[in-house]
């Protein structure tokens, strides 16, 4: 019987398997940031344990990082203490750290691929649910809690059960102007926030194969928003071309040996999935969310839905609550929804191609009066690349703010937040109540839609300009 891609990667990492017990699964790369690690380091100290493999561990500062002045100490004393705690822990336990101001600093899920540390067939974990991003390389990558962070630090393994397998096949070609972000928002709307629970999702089909690595990362990143801890895409020539020459990618004979192995990492023809969803790319259009979970999304050309139209009482009451929180009226065209803020950034859409897509739309145009647009590169390396291409000047000439690298307004742990009642079009991943600031209202969009929205002041696609 054939095996899926995820089965192959899982099997290759089983250290120990015994009847009636979870497997012990080896972890090839552990990414660490300041928010979910301090209690794990404390646990190690209390039990007098060391990190088993500091050489498979890397840390960065991202969630708390201010994006205005990255070279001064953080003004918020609680944020500063958390970042300083990470620095002390990394020094004490011998973990490589990319601190604020370092050229290698950035969002944890942007720097792993950028350094070539994320490779096909690996197991990657981090105390962050968007670790699923790394599955774009054909790695099995998932988020863990702080107890598991401590477990990986101490043992370089996790206690795991084999997940169920789900296939999301996207056939055909994405229409012009429809991006990876629109695709994944449409998938989540289709299967719901619980649709992938207990599963690893493998994204397959022509439209997935045609995506760039960065587009694939956007898709895998939001797997968790459909309930799946991990999303994966089989490695191919696009993957190899992205990896070749990166600082930590294999080279010389190792590169050839690695590629030979990586080519075996695909789902066998006779493998079966526990669940399958098929989507026609040709039917997809720019997509936006209207509610307070990422499954509450519709095409931009549609209207705010009427809760009464839901047969399921749970969905109906969730929709009623969402409209009340979002300050929206059923039947309003999404294109009529005016925003105060536009945020381009995050581990979902803070890479160079995302910034180029937004810059393409806004070039020679102006951010609408009364709208604030923040552009936050996913890493200092992305920032440097964007500046080399002159994208920063495109944004600032349009009236947008060009910032330093970090998680920023995706979750508002730094000063970049919405005020109560403020509405954003955001390229991030979560439209939860208060996610971008207490009382803030979030519409999830692609970078191109974000830029068009900044120009018109209400939700819009580039084609509307």
């Amino acid at each position: 019987m054939g095996r899926t891609l995820a089965d192959k990667v899982y099997d290759a990492h089983v250290v120990r398997s015994a009847e009636g017990e979870p497997d012990v699964l080896y972890i090839d790369l552990h990414l660490v940031h300041e928010v979910t690690s301090p209690q794990a380091f404390d646990g190690l100290r209390m039990a007098d344990r060391a990190i088993r493999r500091p050489d498979l561990t890397i840390a960065t500062e991202d969630h708390n990082v201010p994006t205005t002045d990255i070279l001064s100490p953080i003004a918020d004393p609680v944020s500063r203490a958390q970042v300083e705690t990470l620095r002390k822990n990394c020094a004490e336990f011998g973990v490589r750290l990319h601190p604020m101001g370092d050229a290698g600093q950035g969002i944890v899920h942007v720097i792993g691929p950028q350094l070539g540390l994320t490779q096909p067939g690996m197991t990657v974990v981090c105390g962050d649910s968007h670790t699923s991003t790394h599955g774009a390389f054909g790695a099995l990558a998932f988020g863990i809690g702080t107890s598991e962070v401590e477990h990986v630090l101490a043992t370089q393994t996790l206690s795991q059960r084999r997940p169920k397998m789900m296939a999301v096949t996207v056939n055909g070609t994405l229409p012009y102007g429809v991006t990876a972000k629109d695709l994944i928002l449409a998938v989540i709307a289709r299967i719901g926030t619980g649709g992938g629970q207990g599963h690893v999702v493998e994204y397959r089909g022509e439209a997935i194969r045609a995506l760039s690595m960065e587009g694939r990362m956007t898709v895998c990143n939001m797997s968790i928003e459909a309930g799946a801890r991990a999303g994966m895409i089989a490695p191919d020539e696009t993957t190899f071309a992205y990896l070749e020459g990166r600082p930590h990618a294999p080279s010389g004979d190792d590169w050839e040996a690695a590629k030979e192995y990586w080519r075996s990492l695909h789902t066998d023809d006779d493998a079966t999935f526990d669940k399958e969803v098929v989507i026609d790319a040709a039917e997809l259009t720019p997509f936006v969310t209207w509610g307070t979970n990422p499954g509450q999304g519709v095409p931009l050309a549609a209207y705010v839905p009427d809760p009464a139209a839901y047969d399921d009482p749970t969905q109906r009451s969730a929709a009623e609550r969402a409209l009340e929180y979002m300050g929206l009226t059923a039947g309003t065209p999404l294109r009529d929804v005016a925003v105060d803020t536009v945020f381009v950034g995050s581990c979902t859409n803070g890479r160079i191609e995302d910034l180029r897509a937004a810059a393409d739309v806004i070039k020679g145009r102006k951010v609408a009066d009364g709208v604030r647009m923040l552009v936050v590169p996913g890493s200092m390396k992305v920032k440097a690349q964007a500046e080399e291409e002159g994208l920063n000047e495109v944004f600032t000439a349009a009236g947008a703010e060009w910032r330093q690298a970090g998680c920023s307004m995706c979750l508002g742990m730094n000063p970049d937040q919405l005020k109560p009642g403020e509405r954003s079009a955001s390229t991030s991943n979560r439209n939860f109540e208060g996610r971008q600031g207490k009382g803030g209202r979030t519409h999830l969009v692609s970078p191109a839609v974000a830029a068009a929205t900044a120009v018109t002041g209400h939700l819009a696609a580039p084609a509307d300009l």
């Binding site: 690695a258 979970n293 508002g412």
Partner: protein, 196 residues
């Protein structure tokens, strides 16, 4: 980890679906570096509403949260589990849990009980009719009991149940297999990346 064997307590109905971990504990509370003090942040935004169910006098001291489907979706923050525990909850009942939340809960000793959605709704109605009603959770029998209405069985795998009953933490269990981890490491591909 604190062991979970049996627990008797009152319950509180949370009639909302998709209660994500940003609602359970907003990000601003995650800046602390200690493992305690998170009860103040539990449902912080919702608790500002005096009518929110946790603020109602009849539910003070309840220790079992009975919530709508897809509880604990979103962020991996284990702080959500710590906040629920430190507030006084020992178990959460829902029709579906976010995978990472459920995992975090069993690592920290908070019992996630999955029941069919219709049963969860019946439980919520029962609690609302009589908030003083007591429930007993018997983990070794995998049962949720309410004296006059009998028993609801729930599923939990043998291993997780054993770990919770004994209050064992996974690290100690895994470290028993250090030799096997070392043997595995010797067979890893030489070109796999190191961060150093």
């Amino acid at each position: 980890m604190e062991a979970f064997t049996t627990h008797t307590g009152r319950a509180v109905p949370l009639r909302r679906s998709n209660v994500d971990t940003d609602q359970i504990i907003p990000a601003v509370w995650l800046k602390q570096v200690s493992r305690t003090g998170f009860e103040k942040g539990l449902f912080a935004a919702w608790r500002e509403d005096p009518e929110f169910v946790l603020n109602r006098p009849e539910y003070q001291g309840a220790s079992i949260l009975v919530a709508g489907p897809d509880f604990g979706t979103g962020s991996s923050r284990e702080h959500a589990v710590w906040a629920l525990q430190q507030y006084g909850f020992r178990a959460v009942v829902s029709a579906r849990f976010g995978d990472i939340f459920r995992n975090n809960a069993t690592k920290a000793g908070l019992l996630p009980i999955e029941l069919p959605e219709a049963n969860v709704e019946r439980l919520q109605a029962k609690i609302e009719a009589n908030p003083a009603k007591e429930f007993t959770i018997d983990l070794s029998r995998r049962e949720l009991r309410c004296d006059e209405d009998g028993v609801q069985s729930f599923e939990i795998d043998d291993y997780t149940r054993w770990r919770l009953l004994e209050g064992l933490d996974d690290i100690g269990l895994t470290l028993r297999h250090t030799d096997e981890i070392t043997a595995y490491e010797e067979g890893r591909r030489s070109w796999l990346p190191v961060t150093a």
